[in-house]
């Protein structure tokens, strides 16, 4: 007698259609297809020989995987030189922006001085200027002092462009480090500099690394500053170099997709490093774009 109702409940549960699960996974998979599939298609195309790229209907799996496209990229274009230029510009930009903004953000968090909040807000305001507003007059000015077509000009422009963001991001990281730790060090006889160097920097290291990677991605992805400031082929960075490669000849889609894959790899590596800081970075304004 007593068992029957129980079994009924059990049956009812068992046969309930999993609408929720279906909806959640269905929706997520659709989103995944929309965001990731274009990139996967790029990867697939980059490994196909030319005759397979141009078959109809298109095939998902390459019949003969090949590295020809990558080989062509290195032998028939200046891809390697663009890659090295991008690396150089991104690293220098990140180094400059970090040194400046670590000092600046520390100053903003640990010291009181007149007009501090106003300055911080002014910095945030400059963050609102679109690159196109800055880069045209920047070009005219840089031309006057003869720096056009140098990596110096590009690094300066990108440093200045990313500074407002790195300052605000680092400021928010420094704010989470308790002042007491530093004060304790000062009481023990450390100088301000020593306290900052041995106490604050190690504690802020994750934040500094995250900021560095945000800046690296920004510099690595930049198109507009490099387009306007760099004119000679040996100095071009990846986005500009590859764009010109695309426009020059009959499009070799395999080679272009291979270049896309190679440009994307460093970004993916950075991304894996910063995944955990992404939300915090967003809180401080996100990557501009």
């Amino acid at each position: 007698m007593g068992r029957k109702p129980k079994r009924l409940i059990y049956l009812k549960k068992r046969f309930k259609f999993p609408w929720r699960i279906l909806g959640l996974y269905g929706g997520s998979i659709l989103l995944l297809l929309w965001s990731i599939f274009p990139l996967i298609w790029m990867l697939i195309t980059s490994f196909k020989p030319t005759e397979e790229i141009f078959i109809y209907p298109p095939e998902l799996i390459p019949r003969h995987m090949t590295l020809t496209n990558f080989y062509a990229l290195f032998s028939r274009s200046h891809f390697l030189s663009y890659f090295m230029n991008s690396l150089k510009v991104s690293i220098l930009t990140t180094a400059c922006a970090l040194v400046l903004s670590v000092l600046g953000a520390y100053g903003l968090v640990r010291f009181r001085f007149r007009g501090k909040e106003l300055l911080a807000q002014l910095v945030l305001l400059t963050y609102m200027f679109a690159p196109i507003m800055i880069v045209i007059p920047f070009y005219i000015l840089i031309r006057k002092i003869g720096l056009v077509n140098t990596h110096t000009a590009l690094v300066l422009a990108l440093t200045s462009f990313s500074l407002p963001f790195t300052l605000w991001l680092l400021r928010s990281f420094f704010q989470t480090i308790p002042l007491e730790l530093e004060e304790a060090a000062l009481v023990d006889g450390a100088t301000h500099l020593e306290a900052a160097f041995y106490i604050v920097l190690p504690l802020a290291a994750p934040g500094i690394i995250a900021t560095a990677i945000f800046t690296l991605i920004l510099a690595w992805n930049d198109y507009i500053f490099a387009r306007i400031l760099i004119t000679s082929d040996p100095l071009k960075t990846l986005p500009v170099g590859v764009q010109d490669l695309f426009n020059q000849t009959v499009v070799d889609w395999g080679m272009i997709m291979a270049s896309g894959v190679l440009i994307t790899i460093p970004v993916l590596l950075f991304f894996i490093f910063i995944q955990q800081y992404l939300i915090e970075g967003w809180g401080a304004g996100g990557i501009k774009g």
Binding site: L24, S28, L31, L32, W34, S35, I36, P38, L39, W41, M42, Y56, P57, L100, S101, L103, G104, Y106, G107, L108, R110, F111, F113, K116, L119, V123, T126, M128, F129, A130, P131, I132, M133, I134, I136, P137, I140, L141, L156, A157, T159, S160, F161, L163, P164, N221, Y223, I224, I228, P239, W253, M257, I263, T264, V267, F271, L278, G283, G286, G289
Partner: protein
Amino acid sequence: MGFLLLLPSLLVIGTLTLYPVVYNVWLSLLNKHAFLPGEKFVGLRNYELVLKDPQFWMSFKLGVIYSLVTVVLQLVIGIGAALLLHESFPGRNFFRGAILFPYLVPTIVGVLLWKWLLHDTYGLVNYTLQALNLVKDPIGWFGQDTIMISLILVSVWQFFPFVFLTILARLQIIPPELYEAAKVDGASALQRFFYITLPQLKTVLFIIILLRGIWMFTKFDTVWLMGGGEGVGLYIRTLPLYAYMKTFTYWQAGIGATVAMVMLLIMAGAAAIYFKIYKVEEGI
């Protein structure tokens, strides 16, 4: 001491960002060639020329269409994705991470891979549409009627993760008690969304719409790389492209600066109206 630490940053921002922007104001009052030396002060004449230029208004119109449509679509997809991936289920974090990729991939890569997907003969998009019998003949995605649609598609793909992540971050700090109380009171899922979630998201939505609106209206690289400019590209030549081309294609640096200035003024005006509407709605 604190000020001294901040000084180097201020100097860099001041000379390399602020000064060029101020110089741009001066430039807009000059008749100046982009490369040749020599310049002549012409007062507000450039502004008069620009405001009477039908090409300028064409670009303005295209820019408004582009930013309105892309912002709305980014919001729809971004909010939908955030609500979905705010639910807890196994594998959620994988999906969360994966859908951020389009935002992190360099613009050049996003544009080139979509150009390949949208290729008229060998593109996967046309193939899929034909295979599903949605269209009979392949669509030319880079014709004068379609190029804006392609541009919007690529832009929404590239930028919706910004909306997604910002909304998700905000959803995570809504106090769960609010939902529990509503459930006890018998509110349906739809009611919970309209009476709890949406009001909580109001401020962050205000900021997202403002930022995305500004960024889409001044977007240069995606539009330019999609082929904006001349020929068919005229049909996606938004204001930033027009300013760029005035300076670097027609070498009229003064006019280029003026277009950029007018663009800034339009944005400031739009932002002011936007703030006002928001305040009226808030009842302040």
